[in-house]
């Protein structure tokens, strides 16, 4: 049981580490206009609350197909910044889908083989979503609100209602399960996709907003909290299906509140990226022009006609 718990914790830690590496190395394509804001928190909360209900209402096959397709789409945009040819990226996604299907049908959804494939795919999806949030401007304030709302939802849906259990049952036989888990005889340790996502977002927001030191502390705190919950479940102190956000949520909320109070609103994405790239000392601030200058003409806004030395 300890080994199983350690495997799941290792997947969680890997998700955190790889998310940070992704944040530092790759730039996701973002919408031309718009920054992550409170409307996104609201929209996501509504989506997260309604999606499980949708999965339960829909026929099982359709629900599993929808979830798998959504996961592959997320995998697609996660791999989008990878410096490889498009065909190679598409091949990787096809191979992932094939591996998940093969593992589910050949080894069975309760096998370690299936768990390994599933967990890798779930970690990849989590890396992509968490980075999308943070790279489009999610701040600690947004995470604080989102964590608070999802904590309340998780307690209701998992501890009070059978909603989470029903969703796991429904999607349990699909080629992709919204969990990072590892099976063993008589016991399965698992961490929900949503919990892992919040853990990664917590660490990424900390690192982006307040620097690598705060990010490292958040990683220790977050992974430690998750490990404590998994250990509690494994030791029988906690029930088999426990709302992890009930523990992780307050940690995130308290940390974000504390950071905001002590350190302020946090850095913009531009400031974070600038901090990653050392500037030449003494360089004068001069933003370069966008490469594409496709713009509407406007009455009192100038357009470039003479660059320095370009007369």
């Amino acid at each position: 049981v300890i080994a199983v718990v350690c495997i799941v914790i290792a997947f969680a830690a890997a998700a955190v580490g790889l998310s940070l590496a992704y944040l530092r190395s790759w730039r996701m394509t973002r919408p031309p206009i718009g920054v992550f804001n409170s409307s996104d928190v609201l929209a996501m909360t509504i989506g997260i609350v309604l999606a499980p209900i949708g999965y339960l209402v829909l026929p099982t096959v359709l629900a599993a197909a929808l979830f798998s397709l959504a996961a592959l789409a997320i995998l697609g945009f996660t791999l989008q910044p990878a410096p490889v040819a498009d065909w190679l990226r598409r091949l990787a996604i096809a191979l992932a889908a094939g591996a998940a299907l093969a593992a589910a049908h050949v080894a069975g959804t309760g096998s370690a083989t299936f768990a390994a494939v599933n967990d890798v795919l779930v970690v990849c999806c989590v890396i992509g979503i968490a980075n999308l949030w943070v790279q489009t401007g999610m701040r600690s304030g947004h995470l604080l609100v989102l964590a608070g709302l999802l904590t309340a939802y998780d307690v209701v849906a998992t501890a009070w209602l059978p909603l989470t259990a029903d969703v796991i049952d429904t999607l349990g036989s699909s080629p992709l399960v919204p969990l990072v888990f590892w099976p063993t005889d008589g016991h399965t340790a698992g961490l929900g996709l949503g919990d892992l996502l919040m853990l990664c977002a917590f660490v990424l927001v900390a690192a982006k907003d307040y620097g690598p030191g705060v990010g490292r502390r958040a990683a220790l705190l977050g992974v430690g909290t998750v490990a404590a919950v998994l250990a509690g479940v494994a030791s029988g102190l906690l029930p088999q299906l426990v709302p992890t956000m009930a523990a992780l949520g307050p940690v995130i909320v308290a940390s974000c509140w504390s950071w905001r109070r002590r350190l302020g609103d946090g850095r913009s994405v531009a400031a974070f990226q600038a901090a990653l790239t050392p500037r030449t000392a003494g360089a004068r601030r001069r933003p370069h022009r966008p490469a594409v200058a496709a713009t509407a003409t406007t009455p009192f806004a100038p357009g470039p006609i003479t660059r320095k030395g370009g007369d």
Binding site: P32, I33, V35, P290, F300, P302
Partner: protein, 472 residues
């Protein structure tokens, strides 16, 4: 992002159908663009399509413009006394040839009766006057809707071009009567997190002091007043170390290479950006590109270039007057059909390959028709003369000069520092090099001796108590 996406969809729907823009959606998208700049440091070029709609192919674009033109003609006939008297029929406008048969609207008509062009039932929020550099000032009425649309488009443009950004201090050395320009740039500064400071057209000595003390990073200025600043700044011993300027947004008049070169000698390694705007046709206007073209946004206004001689469409390379019809959904109060701006440009030959190649283009404005000279070899406009003069250090900035028909060519007079043989030779060579056929050349060291001086916005001087004590 979610709310910005919803707002963009609402805006796109208005742009596609030509219906009135939803101001809340427009301002939401503008706010989102400003937030994008603050968060990411820039916005991609694709963001422009949120405001102007997607890039259309020529057939679709012509269809859209024709539809909007019909709407505008119908509104003008039904809603304004000036066009009602002309008895136009919007239903007859099926092609661009039909549009070309509509009579031009002259500046004199608008000056004589500005309210005759105002659509009945519109709620007027501002009466905006032009600076009147080609004669008496002209009044144009705008609704609150139009003012907000213009402000949003200005912000969009400034953000896209990264001309103003968070933390900038934007000094405006333009006439404080230019309410549309001052208002929209000030509003943009507020949205973009910059500080706007209206210095006005005070004594250049005061403006230079304000620029230096205020550590302005952006200067929004008329070309001739920039010239005055350069001249006074050099004389007063200012240098690049006294200023924090990074960009100069210059327009309202002809901007020459010589002016920008000399401005950089005073202000340092600054970036120059030129605008092409006019109160009467806003928000239609032009954007200069890096290849010296003037690009015109076809969805905000119908643009025509008409021959100076007979008002037929000008052919490539032939100078013509820029005729503009501001279109809905951007313009709804002062309706102008085929407004003759008197600005002279020339259509370009062949396709262009610049960064704005998806927009129709003409040459840069070469001058005002009523200030140009017709002679045996054709026309001489202000730009070549001014380009020639302002490149010479012997000519104080802004170049004060005049042109007139003389000896079947062009008479040129100019203010110089020293009226001596060397200066005369340099001026003549520069004018020859610019292709100006000199019939007579006069030089003077006293601006009052000029007989045909070009009007300069720098002379719309505003007084202050500080300025009246010293003078310059």
């Amino acid at each position: 992002m979610f709310d910005a996406t919803v707002a963009q969809l609402r805006l796109a729907s208005s742009l596609a159908t030509g219906r009135r823009l939803n101001l809340r959606a427009l301002e939401k998208v503008t706010d989102a663009m400003c937030a994008t700049v603050a968060e990411f440091g820039s916005v991609s070029g694709d963001a422009a399509q949120a405001f102007s709609g997607p890039v259309l192919d020529d057939d679709v674009r012509e269809d859209v413009v024709l539809r909007r033109m019909r709407t505008q003609v119908r509104r003008a006939v039904e809603g304004t006394s000036h066009y009602a008297a002309l008895g136009l029929d919007a239903g007859e406008l099926r092609t661009f040839d039909d549009i070309a048969r509509l009579a031009l609207t002259r500046k004199e008509s608008l000056r004589a009766d500005p309210s005759g062009f105002v659509r009945r039932g519109c709620s007027i929020a501002a009466r905006v006057t032009t600076t009147g550099t080609t004669g008496r000032t002209t009044t144009v009425h705008y609704s609150d809707y139009e003012l907000r649309v213009i402000a949003a488009l200005t912000t969009n443009h400034l953000a896209l071009r990264r001309l103003i950004g968070p933390g900038d201090v934007v000094a405006q050395c333009i006439s404080s009567r230019a309410t549309l320009a001052v208002g929209s740039v000030t509003s943009s500064c507020r949205s973009l997190g910059a500080v706007a400071e209206l210095i006005g057209l005070v004594e250049p000595r005061e403006a230079l002091d304000a620029l230096a003390r205020g550590r302005a990073t952006v200067l929004n200025v008329y070309a001739s007043y920039l010239g005055a600043l350069v001249e006074h700044g050099t004389r007063l011993g200012y240098g690049p170390r006294d200023f924090a300027l990074e960009r100069i947004l210059v327009g309202g008049e002809i901007v020459t290479a010589g002016l920008l070169r000399r401005a950089r000698e005073l202000f340092g390694d600054v970036e120059g950006a030129e605008n092409c705007a006019m109160t009467e046709i806003a928000p239609a206007g032009g954007t200069p590109c890096s290849h010296d073209h003037l690009h015109l946004e076809p969805t905000t206004g119908l643009i025509e270039v008409l021959s100076l001689d007979d008002e037929r469409p000008a052919v490539a390379g032939e100078p013509g007057t820029l005729v503009v019809t501001p279109l809905p959904p951007y313009r709804e109060t002062t309706l102008l059909l085929r407004y003759d701006t008197e600005d002279v440009v020339a259509p370009l030959a062949g396709p262009v390959h610049c960064e704005l190649r998806h927009l129709p283009a003409v040459t840069r404005i070469v001058g005002k028709r009523r200030l140009a000279v017709r002679h045996d070899d054709g026309w001489t406009f202000q730009r070549p003369v001014q380009e020639a003069l302002e490149q010479l250090d012997a000519v104080p900035l802004p170049a004060r000069y005049g042109i007139w028909p003389a000896a079947r060519a062009v008479g040129v007079e100019t203010l110089v520092r020293h009226d001596d043989a060397a200066t005369r030779r340099a001026v003549r060579e520069a004018l020859d090099g610019a292709g100006v056929p000199i019939g007579e050349l006069r030089m003077t060291e006293d601006a009052r001796d000029l007989r045909h001086p070009m009007p300069l916005r720098a002379d719309l001087r505003e007084h202050s108590f500080a300025g009246s004590g010293g003078g310059s």
